[in-house]
């Protein structure tokens, strides 16, 4: 016997807890037969009645879920907001961080410009992994019988209303674009400096020996500065803690740069072969000093400007 009713029952009982399966089966079968009988008594033919009754009962999986009191959602309203917040938080920095580290490691191994590819792939993989495992965890919590005690919401959690934006979006975007352009310039100048050697090969502007430590380190500082700009924008105004962080970041970038420039380790020695002006040690020292002074002036001016803004906005 393999009537529509049999098939419907089998489909429903498939996902009902085993210990109650038999009882639900007999009861549901009786109910279906009662319903069919109710229709045939009204003059309908048995086949049509059966089809209509089963259609009325609807998707067997939905019915089974109702019998088993099972959730028909992956993550319900109890946990959805927590899940979303954690997902946003984790995705906001972990993939970028891991991707950057991979890029730097690959670049340090001499892959240069080609290091961006593996970095992007790893960042994407990390993002997918985070989303998958976090969702799986919450789906399991959703289905566990013991309720997880989430902290109750209190008014103290209210974020500050953005009354006065001390940090315009345009400034943040400009800073981030500048930082990203600087990050991109470091590998690009290594492969495409538009300075050609005598036999046409590319001569990097910066000393390739710096890739063993200093350039990756500067990239890390620049990436940290990008994160800093975004955090600063989210906070919405200058605070002394932000100012302190900015001082540290600026020094972390400018001190190595100045030191490298002064000790004549910044520029590629091979440039001297092409640009005769640079072959002279005095000229190189002059250029190094100019770079060092220029950097110092920019940094000091920026810090004074920031200190004034911070003072105004914290007052």
């Amino acid at each position: 016997m393999n009537t529509l009713t049999d098939r419907y029952l089998a489909a429903t009982l498939r996902s009902v807890p085993a210990q109650r399966r038999d009882e639900i089966a007999s009861e549901l079968r009786a109910s279906i037969e009662d319903m069919i009988e109710g229709r045939t008594d009204g003059g309908q033919d048995a086949t049509t009645a059966e089809r209509e009754v089963l259609t009325e009962l609807g998707n067997p999986d939905v019915l089974a879920a109702r019998y088993a009191d099972r959730r028909l959602q992956l993550i319900g309203p109890t946990y959805y907001l927590v899940w979303l917040r954690l997902l946003k938080l984790l995705l906001s920095f972990i993939p970028a961080l891991v991707g950057t580290i991979v890029t730097i490691v690959e670049a340090a191994e001499g892959k240069g410009f080609g290091a961006i590819g593996p970095g992007l792939v790893v960042a994407l993989q990390v993002a997918v992994q985070i989303a998958f495992w976090l969702t799986l965890t919450f789906a399991i919590i959703e289905r566990s019988q013991t309720p997880v005690n989430l902290p109750d919401w209190t008014v103290d959690q209210l974020p500050d209303a953005p009354v006065h934006r001390g940090i315009p979006l345009a400034d943040t975007i400009a800073s981030v674009v500048m930082l990203v352009a600087t990050i991109a310039y470091l590998p690009i100048q290594h492969f495409q400096s538009w300075v050609r050697g005598t036999d046409g090969e590319n001569i990097a502007i910066l000393d390739p020996a710096l890739w063993s430590f200093w350039l990756p380190a500067l990239i890390v500082v620049l990436v940290a500065s990008v994160i800093f700009e975004i955090v600063k924008y989210r906070i919405g105004r200058w605070t002394w803690r932000l100012f302190g962080t900015k001082v540290l970041l600026n020094l972390a970038f400018s001190v190595p740069l100045v030191w490298l420039a002064l000790s004549d380790r910044l520029l590629n020695p091979a440039l001297g072969e092409r640009l005769s002006w640079l072959a002279d040690a005095d000229n190189r020292n002059l250029l190094g000093a100019a770079i060092a002074v220029g950097t110092a002036v920019v940094v000091v001016w920026d810090l004074i400007d920031t200190a004034i803004k911070t003072r105004r906005q914290t007052a």
Partner: protein, 113 residues
């Protein structure tokens, strides 16, 4: 003009809890699933079969209904009946339903005046 969909949603919300009350009242006289469905419909409580059958089981699990198989007739049927626990729960629910009606009436009169 009120949209049909909006109206249907609100009616559904309004009716949702009353199915339990109606079932507990109706099952003071023992009955099986399909017959209860018919009785509820006849008394103005249209309810979907795929809602009612699982609901009866759930109320039984909560101890508000007791059940018994009746094998005397042509096909074995499971008869449900409101338990003592179900009865005391029902009186609380009925009180609340009456309180809602009273509140609404009072509110309507208060606004009218």
């Amino acid at each position: 003009m009120v949209s049909e969909d909006v109206l249907r949603t609100h009616l559904q919300e309004l009716r949702r809890g009353t199915v339990v009350v109606a079932s507990l009242v109706a099952l003071r006289r023992p009955d099986y699933g399909y017959a209860l469905l018919q009785r509820l419909t006849d008394h103005g409580f249209p309810v979907d079969a795929n809602t009612l059958y699982p609901l009866l089981r759930r109320l039984e699990d909560q101890g508000l209904l007791t059940s018994e198989w009746n094998t005397a007739e042509s096909r074995p049927r499971k008869f449900y009946r409101t338990s003592d626990e179900g009865e005391s729960m029902l009186s609380r629910l009925l009180d609340d339903l009456a309180a809602v009606q009273t509140s609404i009436t009072g509110l309507i009169q208060g606004v009218d005046r």
